[in-house]
């Protein structure tokens, strides 16, 4: 994901002189260092000072620049929420709501693994979607990261995009065209809707295949755009399948599952069961053990399959 982010940034940077990049001693990790090699005047490494980075990005955006500020998720919404709210989201002049800052975080969720619970950001979606004017995105794979990075550069407004640390299964083709506000129907089905985001999209697809063999027809939605949420597609899904299972690498309180539940509860209420981290913290897991850590919190195709079976029974 990070590699595609870095590649997209370089392309955007070549097209638009106003694009600048900020990093907090994480430019190598976030793959933004390449941007700095090509545009040394337009990459600002501010050191381990995330609040400073966000406020600087706001000042740059106010002055007409399009700043991409990147670091690990735990240090962005997890640390700099005041700067994000007051310096980026709040300033509004005429119809420009919030400043044109793009916050791109890596290392979201449990799949961070080895660094442990202190580094596994499980609350960022809840934090970010409660802040007005922000668009909140959790793409499923590197192709969607690439596409959304290009979109963020073109569309005015504050954005938060969360990426995972680990390599992700490809869900989309290269050159996919996904847009904020629109969920993607990756698979159609009639018995249950599985709404996923980030790395759980691949799990949802795998679960749907398994269930298909058992005669359970699942619709799979990639709800990468958590805010704005796609109310229309969700209402159609609720009407069509009558039950929704959500799964995400996030606290079950306030995350994508909550957003989906809020949406359908005011359009076509159906049962919404949320799979995710059940209001607790994670812990260390070596790379090979990450699937096991995720599974302990119900984030596996096996558990998704089980949950759907229970729902449709």
């Amino acid at each position: 994901m990070r590699t595609e982010y870095g590649r997209a940034l370089l392309e955007i940077g070549r097209d638009n002189d106003d694009v600048v990049v900020l990093g907090a001693d994480t430019t190598d990790s976030l793959k933004t260092a390449g941007f700095g090699r090509e545009f040394p005047d337009r990459l600002f490494n501010v050191g381990i000072a995330e609040g400073n980075m966000v406020s600087m990005a706001a000042g740059l955006a106010y002055s007409g620049k399009i700043p991409f500020a990147s670091t690990y998720a735990i240090f962005l919404p997890g640390r700099a929420v005041d700067q994000i709210r007051n310096n980026v989201a709040y300033p509004t002049r005429d119809d420009r709501r919030g400043l044109n800052v793009k916050l791109v975080a890596s290392h979201g969720g449990l799949s961070v693994g080895a660094d442990g619970g202190s580094h596994q950001q499980l609350e960022d979606i809840a934090i970010m979607r409660a802040i007005p004017n922000f668009t909140v995105l959790v793409p499923a794979d590197s192709a969607s990261v690439y596409s959304l990075t290009h979109t963020m550069a073109k569309v005015y407004g504050p954005f938060y995009m969360r990426m995972a640390r680990s390599k992700t299964t490809m869900v989309y083709d290269d050159n996919c065209d996904i847009l904020p506000g629109k969920a993607t129907i990756l698979r159609d089905g009639s018995d249950c809707t599985i709404a996923a985001c980030g790395i759980t999209v691949a799990m949802a697809l795998e679960a749907a295949s398994t269930l298909h063999k058992e005669g359970i027809s699942c619709q799979v939605l990639d709800v990468f755009s958590i805010k704005p949420i796609d109310d229309i597609t969700l209402e159609q899904a609720a009407r069509h399948t009558g039950r929704i299972l959500t799964c995400e690498e996030h606290n079950t309180i306030g995350g994508m599952g909550s957003a989906v539940a809020e949406s359908v509860s005011s359009s076509y209420p159906v049962i919404v069961r949320r799979v995710g981290v059940n209001d607790t913290f994670g812990e260390s897991a070596r790379d090979a053990q990450v699937p096991e850590l995720l599974a302990q919190h119900g984030l596996s195709s096996i558990n998704i399959t089980k949950q759907v079976r229970e729902l449709v029974r």
């Binding site: 600048v20 406020s55 600087m56 955006a61």
Partner: protein, 555 residues
């Protein structure tokens, strides 16, 4: 040239009055921190910043970031005076639907930063400075940071960042007022070293305790220290900051929280509290009655005027009064513009040049170019067209305009059209030409009459008492309405000039307090007097006022 001292001073005074109007109308807000930075913003808005009120987002403008956002009324007052908003709009402060939010908001034209959450404005300014550099703009970024705000770690993150990127287009002004919400900064979280005294603001007066500048210097900044209520010092520091290349500049501006309203000064209670509406008329009178002393150097050693200037500087003079005499308009010769030019580099203190010369219209340019901040010419030495020329010229070059009248002269009838834009009127209380004469007693009544006529014509300037003013008559001169006091033998002529000036300032202060107590009495009898006195909590003020009230029979 381009001193703009008079306009900065006048507008700053007006800004303070607007802060009182706004916060009193709102019933809340932060007057203390608005007042401590009033002169700082005055120097920025009326001299150093380039902006266009018709096009607030003009690309090439300079930018002001008020990082200590709670001082919003202070910012709004200057935005009103400079024309971004109407003056009457300040009374909508904090009201539902107002563009003037409790903290600066981009709803209000001229606001560049939504402040409120402390500690972030400097980082934001760093972003702006980087953007300006990338865009090749000559714009400067001016950022006002609070000392309480400096508790925030992010201030120091930004400090390192600005130095790393060598942001010489960034000038930060620290409003070092020694007070934050809970209490005195040095008790809550010290920036300076501990002082021996238990006085919570002793560090302000004790240079050996100052550590704040060391901190910034260690972070790689160019550091300038000023008295943050001396317009000329702030002005000169900002000018210096524009010349510094390769590093950002911090101006450590030592100020008094609540400056201008005695009961608010240095009292943490007035960090975030509005004055009650009933007190507003007295507070406005207090603001209007700020006074200055202007020692006249010709009362000293005429052969070493350079030393006299230095004495004035060290003695706490507000102006240095320059009595220029040409041997024609008056029988004596003192010095001319060449001498003025020679003395100018010795001090930042404003030169209050009083031209007792014939045909000033022919010479005034030289005195402006020599570095006068205010130039006063004699009514007896010009006609309406000459004075018009002088007036227009001085205004165009940012020098204050004054007119003087001799004891036997009345205000010229032709002065009327100039009155609203006059900065100063000198009512001579001796016949000019010689130092050491006694005050002509009739001058008291004349001064009062002159002020009355001037006020009817929309006067916004100050009246200067000049001639025989000393410690025993200065209070009466204050009562007449004069607000600048020239002293020759009573100041420069005294061996201990600082003490002489302090004594005169104390007499003025006594008269001012007495005037305000009378005002309180007129507004609401002894109850109001007691309420007014009760506001004065810091130090001995309460007892002093009580005594004055008894002496003048309002209690």
């Amino acid at each position: 040239m381009d001193s703009r001292y008079s306009i900065i001073r006048r507008n700053t005074l007006k800004a303070r009055a607007l802060v009182i109007r706004a916060t009193a109308a709102a019933g809340s807000g932060h007057p203390g921190g608005s007042f401590s930075m009033a002169e700082i913003l005055g120097c920025l808005f009326y001299k150093h910043m380039t902006y266009d009120t018709n096009n607030p987002l003009w690309k090439d403008r300079d930018r002001l970031v008020l990082s200590k956002g709670h001082a919003a009324p202070g910012l709004f007052s200057h935005l009103a005076i400079s024309g971004f908003i109407q003056e009457s709009e300040v009374e909508t402060l904090r009201s539902l639907g107002s563009r003037l939010q409790g903290h600066p908001d981009m709803k209000c034209p001229g606001v560049e930063f939504c402040g409120g959450s402390l500690g972030t404005g400097l980082s934001y300014s760093v972003g702006m400075a980087l953007a300006a550099r990338l865009d090749g703009l000559s714009s400067r970024i001016y950022t006002v940071v609070g000392d309480g705000e400096s508790n925030e770690g992010q201030i120091w993150e930004a400090t390192m960042t600005a130095a790393k990127f060598k942001l010489d287009n960034l000038t930060v002004i620290l409003d070092r007022n020694y007070v934050q919400q809970d209490s005195y900064t040095e008790g809550v979280m010290p920036l300076d070293a501990a002082t021996k005294s238990s006085d919570p603001v002793a560090a302000r007066g004790d240079p050996t305790a100052w550590r704040t500048s060391d901190k910034w210097r260690a972070f790689g900044w160019h550091v300038i220290e000023v008295d943050g209520h001396r317009i000329e010092q702030i002005d000169s520091a900002i000018t210096e900051s524009k010349r510094i290349s390769g590093k950002p500049t911090i101006i450590i501006s030592r100020t008094v929280k609540g400056k201008g309203v005695q009961h608010m000064e240095d009292n943490p209670k007035w960090h975030g509290k509005a004055p009650s509406k009933s007190m507003v008329p007295i507070i406005l009178d207090e603001l209007k009655s700020q006074s200055l002393v202007a020692p006249s150097i010709i009362a000293g050693d005429m052969t070493r005027l350079d030393l006299e200037v230095k004495r004035c500087d060290e003695a706490g003079s507000d102006y240095i009064h320059m009595d220029v005499m040409d041997g024609a308009f008056v029988p004596v010769v003192t010095f001319d513009h060449e001498k003025l030019k020679e003395l100018r580099p010795l001090t930042d203190i404003p030169f209050d040049s009083h031209l007792m010369i014939s045909e000033p219209v022919k010479h005034v340019k030289r005195y402006a170019e020599a570095g006068s901040d205010i130039i006063t010419v004699h009514a007896e030495a010009c006609n309406v067209s000459e004075f018009g020329e002088i007036h227009d010229y001085l205004r165009s070059v940012g020098v204050g305009v004054g007119i003087a009248i001799n004891p036997k002269t009345s205000l010229p009838v032709w002065l009327k059209e100039f009155v609203p834009t006059l900065d100063q009127v000198i009512v001579m209380s001796v016949v000019p030409g010689y130092s050491g004469q006694s005050y002509i007693p009739e001058s008291h009544k004349k001064t009062r009459d002159v002020i009355q006529s001037l006020n009817k014509m929309g006067f916004n300037g100050v009246v200067e008492a000049d001639g025989g003013v000393n410690v025993s008559n200065v209070a009466d001169c204050f009562d007449d309405g004069a607000r600048v006091f020239v002293g020759g033998s009573s100041m420069v002529g005294q061996p201990d000039m600082r003490r002489a000036i302090d004594d005169i300032k104390n007499s003025i202060s006594y008269a001012r307090r007495r005037m305000l107590l009378h005002r309180a009495h007129i507004l609401g009898g002894s109850d109001m007097v007691n309420n007014w006195i009760a506001l004065h909590e810091v130090g001995e003020q309460h007892n002093v006022l009580h005594q004055i009230a008894q002496e003048c029979g309002v209690l």
